[in-house]
């Protein structure tokens, strides 16, 4: 191979790799820059270059202020609660429904699948959704955001396809051994489809963690808002007073020295942190799942 590599081909290769590395830099630099700013000495932040990816000086002031700030702390707890409880419900009910719908002889299977597909095709919009939550009395209740998208139609369809791949002999063997529908699901189907389940769990997890719209609409109480909404109020809507308010300035010695830009950067990084924590798992399960599907196809 190497012997017939011409000089021209090596230049081509360099250009291709450089273009991809440029893409990596454009993707990663803005995130590293925010991390750098949040860890820099507050006095140095105003003079820092937008290109900087390393902290100028070192200080944990921003992070200390963030994790002791009542709004941020509340938001963090709310996000964790909504994400964990929402994801558990999602996975349990999606798996149960997918298992039943993956049985080819289930009477009414086709009708039920169409029943699900209709909801993908036609969406009546934001306002009717809002009125459902309102009529159920779920406004200002965590249930409104936990139950929304309890079963995602797309993920359901993916899971049905995975469950259908479980060899029928194994299911028959389990049934002959006297296993009921739940036992077959638990002991045979779920262990065999673990990568698919993991992928869907991670997707639901990311969905709940990143959701800002439903909490913003359905939860009016500031104390119930998840981190994304707190971040949105601060960075997008520009409500600086809520974050670096008088109370905070008095409470934290030297807080007035802290640059708003550094605080925003820290807040963004705090919101990204859990995603970064599960990202290696996402890469492992999802890319693997996609690849094996492709190889088979």
């Amino acid at each position: 191979m190497r012997t017939n590599t011409t000089r021209f081909e090596r230049i081509e290769q360099t250009i291709i790799v450089s273009a991809l590395l440029l893409m990596v830099v454009v993707t990663v630099q803005p995130v590293l820059h925010l991390l750098a700013i949040s860890l820099s000495d507050p006095a140095e932040v105003p003079g820092m270059s937008g290109l900087a990816v390393l902290p100028d000086g070192f200080s944990l002031d921003v992070w200390r202020l963030l994790i002791t700030h009542p709004n941020v702390l509340r938001g963090l707890l709310n996000s964790v609660f909504i994400t964990v409880s929402g994801t558990i419900l999602n996975v349990v009910f999606t798996a149960l429904m997918a298992w039943a719908l993956s049985r080819p002889r289930l009477p009414g299977r086709r009708v039920l699948i169409v029943f699900v597909l209709v909801t993908i095709v036609f969406e009546p919009g934001l306002i009717p959704d809002y009125f459902v939550v309102r009529e159920l009395g779920l406004l200002n209740s965590y249930w409104s955001v936990i139950l929304f998208k309890m079963v995602n139609a797309w993920y359901l369809i993916i899971l049905i396809r995975f469950f259908e791949e479980v060899p029928g002999e194994l299911l028959e063997a389990a049934e002959l051994d006297g296993a009921n529908a739940f036992q077959t699901l638990w002991r045979v189907v779920l262990p065999l489809t673990r990568p698919a389940l993991a992928t869907i769990t991670l997707f639901y997890l990311v969905y709940h963690w990143n959701d800002f719209l439903r909490p913003m609409i359905y939860l009016n109480d500031q104390a119930m808002q998840p981190l994304q909404v707190v971040l949105r109020q601060f960075v997008v809507e520009g409500d600086k007073a809520g974050m670096v308010g008088v109370q905070a300035m008095n409470t934290y010695e030297g807080a007035s020295q802290i640059n708003v830009r550094a605080l925003e950067a820290g807040m963004i990084m705090l919101t990204i942190a859990p995603i970064l924590a599960v990202y290696p798992l996402i890469l492992r399960f999802f890319t693997k799942g996609t690849m094996s599907g492709a190889l088979k196809g």
Binding site: Q13, I16, V17, L20, M23, V24, V26, V28, V31, P46, F93, L96, A100, L101, R103, P104, R105, P107, L112, F115, F122, E123, P124, G125, L126, I127, P128, F131, V132, L147, M150, V151, N152, L156, I158, R161, E164, E165, P167, G168, E169, A181, N210, F212, L231, V235, V236, R261, E264, A265, M267, I268, T271, I272, I275, Y279, G289, T290, A294, G297
Partner: protein
């Protein structure tokens, strides 16, 4: 259906060739039919119990809203029953210049995204396939998939920081070439490009995964044969790789057209501000604003319903065309 479900749908379509009558279906159907009704109920009852919560969820959170969409034909009353007014709100909607503005914005932004964002992941996947060092390749992939998993609130925060006229990296770089700092986020000439570029930043990497998976599925013998015929890198891309991934490109393109009315609600609600709202206000953000912020529930429902019906026509057409063209539907 949000935009990032596009990629999930595309992945779903990859698994579409699982045999329909997978093992387990191979019982004698006549024997089944001969079984007594009681046995049948006893066999399937546990499955229906497992289906029940999910079905109830779809009824309450997806079908009941369809019924409540009748609000578009009523005047909303806080006390007592709503008043049926027929097409009144649609008349108001179609008579309002703002509606045509948001409709135009929706079409322009979706069109720009298809034109400028759609081709990028194809090129990225082709390039990644040319990287021989597998560690380098994995490093590049790990980095460029990340933004897909960040919320639009976070991405808006990142872009606001990077595009800031006083401290942003972009203005710092344009400054080297003597250009005056510009507030891209508040400039009506540039905000649509911010929308396009931030979409690219978020999804070009991740979407390339779908094409890359399709490239991996191409028979390596085809490359060997091409090499024997003296094909160089570009010949192989043009005559082997591109034809190999053409069905995936077609499916995703059709799906994008099917989702044309979804110009990116989560994205635009976070990138928008008073200075440039008229440039990027789309139907979804319009519904949110007049409905949930101004309380014009009926008018907002009418606008949402208009979008829902057009969207339904597009996605059904997309599915039908995709199925006929590539044998794989959208779902």
């Amino acid at each position: 259906m949000s935009l990032d479900e596009k990629s999930v749908a595309a992945v779903a379509s990859r698994f579409g060739n699982v045999p329909k009558d997978a093992p387990g279906a191979e019982f004698d159907e006549r024997a089944v039919r001969r079984m007594q009704r009681g046995v049948k109920v006893r066999t399937w009852l546990p499955y229906y119990l497992m289906l029940a919560p999910g079905v109830l969820y779809f009824l309450v959170f997806h079908y009941y809203p369809i019924y409540l969409a009748k609000l578009a034909f009523e005047d909303f009353r806080i006390f007592g029953d709503n008043l049926w007014v027929g097409l009144k709100h649609f008349g108001v909607l179609f008579g309002s210049p703002v509606f045509y503005q948001v409709l135009a914005n929706t079409l322009i932004i979706s069109g720009m995204k298809i034109l400028f964002v759609f081709p990028v992941p194809i090129v990225v996947a082709l390039f990644i396939n040319e990287v021989r060092n597998s560690n380098l390749r994995r490093f590049i992939q790990s980095a460029i998939y990340l933004p897909h998993f960040l919320s639009w609130v976070v991405i808006a925060g990142i872009f606001i920081a990077a595009l800031s006229p006083s401290s942003g990296v972009v203005n710092e770089i344009t400054g080297w070439f003597g250009l005056a700092p510009k507030g891209f986020m508040t400039d009506s000439g540039s905000i649509r490009w911010v929308v396009v570029f931030s979409e690219m930043w978020r999804s070009a990497g991740w979407d390339s995964l779908l094409y890359f998976a399709a490239i991996m599925a191409i028979d390596p013998q085809l490359y060997d044969a091409a090499e024997m015929d003296g094909a160089n890198r570009w010949h192989k891309i043009w005559h082997v790789t591109l034809p190999g991934i053409a069905p995936t490109i077609a499916t995703l393109f059709i799906l994008n057209v099917g989702l044309f009315m979804n110009a990116g609600f989560d994205q635009i609600i976070n990138l928008s501000n008073d200075a440039i709202r008229d440039q990027i206000d789309i139907i979804d953000t319009y519904v949110y604003r007049i409905g949930l912020q101004s309380g014009q529930f009926s008018l907002a429902t009418a606008a949402g319903l208009f979008k829902g019906v057009i969207g339904m026509a597009l996605i059904v057409a997309a599915h039908t065309i995709s199925k006929r063209l590539t044998g794989k539907g959208v779902w």
